[in-house]
């Protein structure tokens, strides 16, 4: 009797095929992600087994592109990692103030209705693909840097011939340098980062701001002491996402910073030298060698290993950002 009552009481959930379909569809991106990871790791195993990490973490890199003879030991990625770091710092210095100014202009310090226009303009610019910015960098070289360079004698480090990109293609000689890359990567990132910061500013509770105004504070004081600290967790995440875009980009890096580099820049922080980042070094290795010469397993492994390093960097940045975000949120909650 009791058994029967228990059976009756058991609520049978109706079979839901929506749940099953959604689950199956969810498996697809998860599989993709796992496969991408496995692919990277499997292909970069020869770096440890055949080349040795010591050779990869050195400053000696023969680019194979400028007519150099291939030398087995010369696959060091330190210059490329340094290039990634420098470009990331340059892009941060440019993007963070500009994106902050744009977000503040769109939300707090609107001049009439111009803040709204700013927002639409950013949404429009956000769709411009990187290849267009890469093209624009040539025009930049002609119209902004070009006049600056006229008649100036450049040091040896400033002009490089990268096969495939001859001087004529670039109009004003090869202006391949790290700063150019920083500027154009920031142009790519600003329309992406500013709306995120704007969202963070929007999510500040109105009650906080109203309390501040009610106590007699002006707009600037409210922005500095109330809105920005309260939006800081969101801003940190926005900046980290922008940073991921900067270090991962290939096309703009190839056009503005070239393929690879042997030895560190001298002086170390010389932004006018061509110090190409990890992404374009790896992509250049594969692209230049895949078709024409046929690549050796070592070069392929180094290309995959550079992608693996990028992935590790990206996860480190994301993790750091989320830890920072949590701590900031907790501080504000207190």
């Amino acid at each position: 009797m009791a058994e029967k009552a228990g059976e009756l009481m058991k609520i049978q959930p109706r079979r839901s095929w929506g749940r099953t379909v959604a689950f199956l569809l969810m498996l697809a991106p998860m599989t993709m992600f796992v496969l991408v990871l496995v692919n990277l790791i499997l292909n970069s195993i020869p770096v440890v087994t055949e080349i040795g990490l010591g050779a990869v973490f050195s400053t000696r890199f023969s680019s194979f592109l400028s007519g150099e003879v291939y030398m087995p030991g010369r696959l060091g990625l330190y210059p490329a990692m340094w290039g990634t770091f420098m470009v990331a710092v340059e892009a941060l210095i440019i993007t963070v103030p500009v994106s902050l100014a744009m977000a503040i202009f769109a939300q707090e310090f609107t001049l009439g209705g111009m803040g709204r226009w700013m927002e639409s303009l950013l949404a429009l610019f956000a769709g411009i693909p990187p290849i267009i910015y890469a093209m624009l960098s040539l025009f930049f070289a002609k119209s902004f840097i070009g006049p600056l360079l006229m008649g100036a004698d450049l040091p040896d480090g400033a002009i490089y011939d990268v096969p495939g990109i001859t001087g004529e293609n670039f109009g004003m000689a090869a202006n391949l340098n790290n700063l150019l890359g920083g500027i154009f990567l920031s142009m790519l990132v600003i329309p992406f980062m500013a709306p995120l910061i704007l969202d963070a500013l929007r999510s500040v509770p109105a009650s906080l701001k109203e309390a501040s105004y009610g106590l007699g504070a002006n707009r600037w004081f409210t922005l500095l002491r109330v809105s920005l600290p309260s939006a800081l967790p969101g801003i940190v995440v926005a900046v980290s996402l922008g940073l991921l875009k900067v270090i991962g980009d290939v096309i703009i890096s190839i056009w503005t910073m070239g393929y690879g580099r042997n030895g560190m820049p001298n002086p170390l922080f010389d932004v006018f030298e061509r110090t190409s980042p990890l992404s374009s070094t790896g992509a250049g290795l594969v692209r230049a060698l895949a078709g024409a010469v046929g690549m050796t397993m070592q070069q392929k492994a180094v290309a995959y290993f550079s992608a693996f390093l990028l992935l590790v960097m990206a996860f480190a940045i994301l993790g750091l950002a989320s830890v920072l975000q949590r701590r900031l949120q907790r501080r504000w909650a207190k």
């Binding site: 991106p29 991408v36 500009v98 100014a101 769709g127 267009i132 624009l136 600003i190 096309i251």
Partner: protein, 466 residues
Amino acid sequence: MKIALREEKKTKAAAVPETADISGGALAVIVPALSLVTALSALLFMGLLLVDKSYDAYSLHMLGWLCGALLLLFLDVYRQHRRWDWRVALIGVLAIGSLLARLALPEYFSALQLNAAIHRSVVSMITLAVSALPGLSVSLYYLLGANPEAEDVSRYPLILTPIVLTLALYLVLMAQLFASGLTDVNWRVLTESYANHALTARTLIAGDWPTWETVRVLRIGILNHIAGTGLLMLLTTLISLPVGAGAGVFLSEYGKNTFGKVARFCVTSLRAISVFVLSLAAFSLAHIADGTPLENLFHGARFDGWAYQPTPGGSYLVASIVLSMLVIPVIARATEEGIRSLPQELREGSLALGASEDHTLLRIILPWSLPNIITGVLLGCIEAAGSVAVLLLIAGRGEFGVGIFKQVTSLAFLILDTYYGDPMFLEYMKGAQHFAGVLLLFITLSLGLITMFSRRWLTRRFRGGV
């Protein structure tokens, strides 16, 4: 608690009445106005330096003038208020800083012998901006009467200058692109598809055996690149729309358990991995079936007159699968946002009327989130049209037609190819390279405009104007 205490301290400090006797007379207007004009002209010179390096000779003079004006302002403000606060200190620091820069810059340039012009101009620009912008803001503050409203107004230069400079950079460069692209407009190029290869053709001469001879095909045009862009957008949407929407539904409806957390981590990580990783993934995917009969499908086949041969690159299918890795997180996020904005009453009302879970999903939840999904799809189309990194290692020139199992190509890749390809290709495409850029920009910008303007209409259509 600590913060509250600190705030209390601050309010106490603010409660001390300021010695606000603005009895400066005419000087209180003239001096700030003078420094305002000086700072403005310094900024103007900074802008000129961007265009022409020969102005960097004047930057030293501008620094000197700026130093003088700021020093005057410093003395005048101190005379009026007779007290130290951070503004007065800032003016003093700026004045002394610009004086030091004025004195040190020539020494710096002559001592370093660096790449002369570019280095000198950049350093002068930065020095001018660093001293002129805060100077402008502070002098505006004192000119307007040194009250809280004046402070708000005086911050506009600080906010507007970076915005104006950045937008000017965007607009000037894009105008140049348009100018050079529109002079390239060439209808013949637009209506032909590119081909440059040798074919083995069978020719029949009457009364003789059929003979085989090699025919060279050369057509110059970008029609196949345009069609390829369209096909790429279509395929990517077809793959990523169901998967992305399904993933979004799963994450927001059924994703509260551990598996949901893992799934969310995977989708977030797909957003985070760089496009370079994806370009290598595409390379690997194209080579996955080497040596098997499926090789042609992954590599993209070409017909050379005898048989189908695999190309060294990858097919549209490979490219769109990898592109959908970029697009799926976008659509999933958009779907999630749409579902999150669904009012709880609608869902509960549907369930209360006896509708099943599936019925609620199909008739209530999905229609409600449709505007967001469509926006996500449009954003994904923009991504697919403009992405080169994924195609970087697998794309070709589309000489053998456009189809799912042909070698992939697109407008965006054409632009890369015209600069990095072989010299002959560059010669052929000389008239089309900037035009392709303008076309791509036109496609992406119009898709962006459609996204912006369709949102309101879609909301009215699917949410009853909420």
